[in-house]
Amino acid sequence: MLILTCPYCGVEADETELAPGGEAHLKRATVGDSDEAFEAYLFDRANPKGVHFERWRHAYGCGKWFLAARHTVTLEVYGTYKAQTPEPTKEIVAAIKKRLPEWEGRG
């Protein structure tokens, strides 16, 4: 069972206590943007075999949205962090690099 620590309330929550919310750090397309930009924002996904940044909600806990970095093949969790960050934090990038020195960053 996947276990993530909620960065707000500190609870180590089973996946049954959490709601998955898809890829994180998507840049919202807005008025005046091209159809391609909307398509990319709404539908195109990295869906990597490897490190994935994703949104989760502590649905049956504090109710807050947070972010996680997780490996989609090994299911290893590198850490969780608060949602109010437009890019992966320095700490989370360091945690990934420590385990995967050859990781080239977000594609």
Binding site: E15, E36, D44, R45, K49, V73
Partner: protein, 415 residues
């Protein structure tokens, strides 16, 4: 290639089965093919089959990283139906269902197609309205379905509990021509027929890179070396984003795990397929007597071919409520497959930003039923470079244009 027939069985019985040939070869890749298909699942193999059969293109290789049929084609619960809502879906799924009727003859291998009938239970008033609407749509599309009442459901499925406390059965969408087939035989039948046409099926060969030049495909790099190709078809289900990345584009796909399980074999007790979308479970009985059970997908991206255990619990709970007599049945095996989900729950059969690369993916939780129809449509796209009528609506550009083929209701439960 010698034909399989009743006569062949008798002949081989008389000579102690010494005369059977290999069903397909184990060739080393050639330097170049007119068409390279990545992925020897049902869809990749059916594409190859119809390239040969409908278009006479036989300088074809199907490249598979594992063993053929070892992906979702060999992991699914084999439900075949065509009672979708939208016209483009009904067209391709009904074409596919009808091709299943003659597949054993077409590929000269018994695929055990069993049109035993499929019921989708309506357990809320919302579902009753939804399925009545689907039945009307199907009538206009020429797909044979009817909405039946709870008594008729009970008559078709004596082991069902129609007045459960939470979700009583209010009726069902009944497709008498739906059913099941033997999944491995579908892959093997196409593979043998393709080998018979002179195509190469190259197993244990992973594609690791795609070479392009001036926006056109040139070759693939594999664990068995570089293979040049005139055209390239990516038919790799849950691995589509990975292959697209090698070719330099993105797809509107997310890969998640879907699980299934089977029970110990029991005496015949249910001769139709029953799907319960509200409680999220479905069940049929295999010819061996096992109850074949499937449920929901995990909500997060995953490439492990293992799902989360709580989904099994949810599925079993739902089915025990629907079929109380299975409550003491022992489960024998459980497994997972990586399914390729699109936003509108409809597939992608499409050209791509790279010249002469074509994709067929996004069948998600429900593409076994679509194998022959999808292969038919994909072969036309690859052969002509432009989609024919079956594939036209399924282009990837529909996401940019907002032209969705919304099947989130018809595909309510994973199947």
């Amino acid at each position: 290639m010698k034909r399989y027939s009743a006569f062949a069985i008798a002949r081989e019985a008389l000579r102690y089965h010494t005369g059977w040939e290999r069903a397909w070869g184990n060739p080393e890749p050639k330097k170049r093919y007119d068409v390279v298909i990545v992925g020897a699942g049902g869809h990749g193999l059916a594409t190859a089959f119809y390239l040969g059969k409908n278009f006479g293109i036989t300088n074809v290789a199907v490249i598979e990283k594992g063993w053929l049929g070892g992906g979702n084609t060999g992991r699914n619960t084999t439900i075949i139906r065509s009672n979708y809502l939208q016209d483009p879906s009904a067209a391709i799924y009904e074409k596919s269902r009808s091709l299943y009727e003659t597949m054993s003859q077409d590929v000269n291998m018994n695929v055990m197609f069993s049109p035993r009938g499929v019921i989708m239970l309506a357990q809320t008033h919302h579902e009753v309205r939804g399925y009545e609407r689907t039945a009307h749509a199907n009538a206009l599309q020429g797909v044979d379905t009817t909405f039946i009442g709870p008594e008729k459901v009970k008559e078709l499925v004596p082991i069902i509990n129609i007045d459960g406390p939470r979700y009583p059965v209010l009726g069902g969408l009944w497709q008498p021509r739906g059913g099941t087939a033997r999944h491995d035989a579908v892959a093997w039948g196409y593979a043998r027929a393709c080998a018979g046409m002179g195509m190469d099926i190259i197993q244990n060969c992973a594609v690791q890179g795609v070479e392009t030049e001036g926006g056109q495909v040139k070759a693939v790099n594999t664990t068995k070396g570089r293979i040049e190709c005139g055209k390239l078809a990516l038919v790799v289900a849950g691995h589509s984003s990975d292959l697209a990345e090698m070719a330099g584009f993105r797809l509107p796909i997310e890969s998640v795990a879907l699980q299934a399980l089977v029970s110990e074999p029991i005496k015949p007790c249910m001769d139709v397929v029953v799907m319960a979308n509200t409680v999220h479970g479905y069940m049929s009985q295999s010819d061996k007597g096992e109850m074949v059970i499937g449920g929901g997908t995990d909500g997060f991206n995953n490439y492990t071919q293992r799902g989360s255990f709580h989904h099994i619990e949810e599925t079993v709970r739902a089915l025990v409520e629907t079929f109380p007599m299975i409550s003491r049945l022992k489960m024998l095996r459980q497994w997972g497959g990586i399914v390729d989900m699109t936003g509108d729950r409809s597939p992608i059969i499409s050209k791509t930003p790279v010249g002469n690369i074509f994709v067929n993916c996004g069948w998600g939780t429900g593409g076994f039923k679509a194998i022959p129809g999808s292969g038919w449509a994909m072969a036309e796209l690859v052969a002509k470079g432009e989609p024919g009528p079956l594939a036209a609506e399924f282009g990837v550009d529909r996401f940019r244009e907002g032209r969705f083929i919304d099947e989130s209701v018809a595909a309510g439960v994973a199947h």
